[in-house]
């Protein structure tokens, strides 16, 4: 794949005020924002995400979250955040530090998981907090009387965010499965019974995403009719040193930060959009490397990886003696 034309450090920013913090389940909380300048938000389409900046002491955390609010209501944006106690701290910060009235900064929405409007029918598969993009998609489809159905897997009724609301509003279109009760989404029979022109969308844990792709492929669905979104969080790893040629700097990437975060910490203007290995915006050329890459993104293809000439700094790491990047 080739790098997008104008690589920028994030989408345009919007100053917002936290207008509501609403607990949804034991682990999930909804955050609602209004624009600090009182204007409407820019329009967005279902499946879009925003990157939220969190000022956590001397550290700025930037995490992507799917917009879940109704795309036809631009008076506010809403996200839902699941607290990951073993995560890198972004979701814990949202849960413990953010209160109504707080000033925050988010980016304009970017959509890497949009509806395919050629579809005659949309079938959604959500696992856990992966429900959020579908809430916005459903809002959008309901405006045009779109043909959709949702299959939502959660551990227990108590942990299934928004399941009650969805079931009450769309009793014939929403199906919820509780793994705690031993019930799984019957993927094989669902995918084999869809009318021609159906597009499938999946968001949730990697296991569910892979299962939907594999099941669909196994019965003859083409790849272009199966859409998925998984934001990867950067994984920790051994610290490594990087020489940034254009910036004329040598920096060290710490154990718990990504290469992208390390560049930002050092004031290097590094492009990104999703920070989760999906959008391609952060693609960076490797000038020289003595060692191996840990590629974790969903962007580079096998040839790119084999060439050893590209890395996605938002999620991928390096193990070796020397690495020089064209940045």
């Amino acid at each position: 794949m080739s790098a997008p034309q104008k690589a920028k450090a994030g989408a345009e920013k919007i100053a917002v005020t936290v207008s509501a913090v609403v607990p949804v389940t034991e682990y999930v909380t909804r955050f609602e924002f209004t624009r600090t300048d009182g204007a409407d938000f820019p329009p967005f389409s279902g499946g879009a995400h925003t990157v939220v900046s969190m000022e956590d002491g001397d550290r700025t955390r930037l995490n992507p979250y799917s917009l879940m609010s109704d795309p036809t209501d631009l008076s506010h944006y809403a996200i839902s955040v699941r607290r990951e106690d073993t995560g890198r701290g972004g979701s814990a910060f949202m849960h413990s530090q953010v209160a109504p009235g707080d000033a925050m900064t988010i980016t304009c929405p970017v959509n890497l998981f949009g509806l395919d409007w050629r579809a005659k029918k949309h079938i959604f598969f959500a696992g856990g907090i992966g429900i959020t993009p579908f809430l916005a998609m459903i809002g959008q489809l309901e405006q045009t009387n779109g043909n959709w159905e949702l299959h939502y897997a959660a551990r227990t009724p108590e942990s299934a965010a928004y399941a009650d609301m969805l079931l009450a509003k769309f009793p014939t279109k929403v199906h919820v499965y509780y793994s705690g009760q031993g019930v799984r989404i019957p993927l094989e029979s669902l995918l084999s019974g869809q009318p021609l022109g159906t597009h499938a969308y999946v968001c949730g844990p990697a296991g569910l995403i892979d299962l939907v792709h594999d099941t669909a492929t196994g019965i003859g669905w083409p790849h272009s009719n199966v859409h998925s979104e998984e934001f990867l969080a950067p994984a920790p790893g051994a610290p490594f040193e990087v020489r940034l040629c254009k910036s004329d700097k040598t920096i060290t990437v710490g154990e718990h930060e990504s290469l992208l975060e390390a560049m930002e910490r050092e004031g290097v203007d590094a492009p990104f959009l999703c920070r989760g290995g999906s959008c391609g915006q952060c693609e960076t050329n490797v000038v020289s490397a003595d060692g191996g890459f840990i590629h974790r993104d969903h962007w580079l293809d096998d040839d790119d990886r084999a060439s050893g000439k590209k890395i996605m700094p938002c999620v991928s790491r390096f193990v070796g003696t020397t690495l020089e990047l064209d940045r």
Binding site: K120, S192, Q194, P195, L196, G197, G218, G220, S224
Partner: protein
Amino acid sequence: MSKFEFPPSIGSRPVWGTLEPRVGQAHLFVADAQGAEAILDVATPELMAAAHIIFITRGTDYADKLRALNPSQFYEGPSYDAALSRIKRVLSDAKMGLQVYISGTESLMGQMTNEAAQAGVPFESIQTEHRGSTARRMQCVHCKGFTEEVETDPFVCCHCGLNLFVRDHYSRRLAAYQGVCVDAEDPGNVPAQKGIYE
């Protein structure tokens, strides 16, 4: 010889492929005349177990050979138009995971690809292979009428009678090449007829 090497042309001219077996829940084969040979080449017992073959004979005698492949359903008819109501019915009942294989003339492949795509079959699930006649389905840009089985350039529009020049310009929506009046400036001054690929 049922295979023909089409000369390189402009971007709008369709490029046909070679059928290959695909994974799928059901397999729909639509072929006319020598297109049957492409089915005979690709058929396997596994494919045939879930196959529906719709064969447009156009005067050929491949039907028995196709029937011998033992597809789960077989239909034989004289023309595409005669088969169309059955094709529409099969597509309206079909589910995602259907694989479509179309072989034979460009006219059949163009029209059948359209029919399948309109029914919602993803383009990635449609395969084509040219066999047999290289005659074209042409649309007259003046009267919009279609003339089938055009083998020569120029030709006479079977609707309005104009002398039409055969272009490589193709419309997927119409499944036809474009025919444009060749003697508009100087009526009667028509170049000598020759085969399209001569």
